[in-house]
Amino acid sequence: MRISAAQRQSYWDRGYTVIKGVFSKEETSRMIQEHEAIRLAFIKDKSIVQDSHYPLSSLYPELHETFRTNDYVFQFLTSPKYFGLVEQLLGEEALAVGTTFFFKPPGKNSFLLHQDNYDVGASPQPSCALWVSLEDTSRENGGLCFIPYSHKQGLYSSQTPAGHRYGLVSSRVPQVEEDPVLLPHGYWMEDMTTQAGDVVAFNGFVVHGSFPNNSRYQFRKAFTTHFIPRSSESVFVFNNQLVDKNGQINRLPLNRHHPLIRDLLG
């Protein structure tokens, strides 16, 4: 699938873009089935155990790096359809850092505003995420939200008070519609509505989060991968296990500055 000039411009200008209808119903259903099978195996071997304080969400944790053990997820990750998107956006080859599968069951809390490159630590360019909507998502069932243009200033400190000119990651995702959002002047929060098969691409510096899942019975299943440009000089996580589009493992220098930067950002 070709990414349009407008989509590429939105990614670089606003910090994110939506690519509609990338994956078929068959593909999204298979990804859900594979991760459900992984989850059941984890329950069986007691890697997943119910927590009485979080009786539902503890049974549906996020699943990380499933491509390393599941053939279908590996094929999905390295497919030209998926990998090709990030290379079109970045304008160069990319390396996959890691993946996460989200079940996000009803009642699951919001995901706080954050920046992905705070964890990824790619340098000098930030990471790029491709978030695949495996089911329809909206504000009601825990969809994504973004602060457009927030990627222009790099990483923000979470200690800066909400509402301050640079206090972008101190604000909160509203739990209910009426909750106020205290953002600096000139910024606003945008809801994201997606359909199964859509891909949301976003810059590792863009401030984003997700709403709580307030629906009665709808999950919000999604699969996301963090990529970095192949030209990156260093990266903080999985620097020895970076996967290219051929499925080969690549290595980059460890970003040794990043732990202190993270500490100072709070």
């Binding site: 000098p124 400190s157 301050h164 100072l264």
Partner: protein
């Protein structure tokens, strides 16, 4: 638009060779707060998050900003503190190169430190 537009100092830039080391130094010794980090830049501010902001700029081959007015060192950045003796004692204890405290007219006291890259940084104290 007014005929007399208003201005305030928003930020000043300081050249540094190692931006992470310098961020840590200014935060540790001057209790500054980090606002953001981006590529070759890091912006710091006072404890109350008010402007002006100090932007550290990574310049590998920088020359230290140590201006001299005759024989008088002229710090490019000057911090105010209400207790210069305490600050001075802490800097000495941390092995930061710091001058003796000078006493001037109107109860002005000041001393001079050099940051990790040799930039002159002043510290002043006076009755408010």
């Amino acid at each position: 638009m007014s005929d007399s537009p208003d201005f305030r100092v928003d930020s000043i830039a300081l050249p540094v060779r190692n931006i992470v080391k310098s961020m840590d130094w200014y935060i540790k010794h001057f209790n500054l707060k980090l606002l953001w980090v981006y590529k070759k830049y890091a912006s710091l501010t006072a404890n109350d998050y008010s402007a002006p902001y100090v932007t550290l700029v990574h310049i590998p081959n920088m020359e230290p900003l140590n201006l001299m007015a005759g024989h008088e060192p002229c710090p490019v950045l000057n911090f105010f503190t209400s207790d210069i003796e305490l600050v001075h004692e802490k800097l000495r204890a941390s092995h930061v190169p710091v001058s003796n405290i000078e006493h001037h007219e109107n109860a002005l006291k000041r001393c001079l430190v050099t940051d990790p890259d040799g930039n002159f940084i002043g510290i002043s104290s006076y009755p408010e």
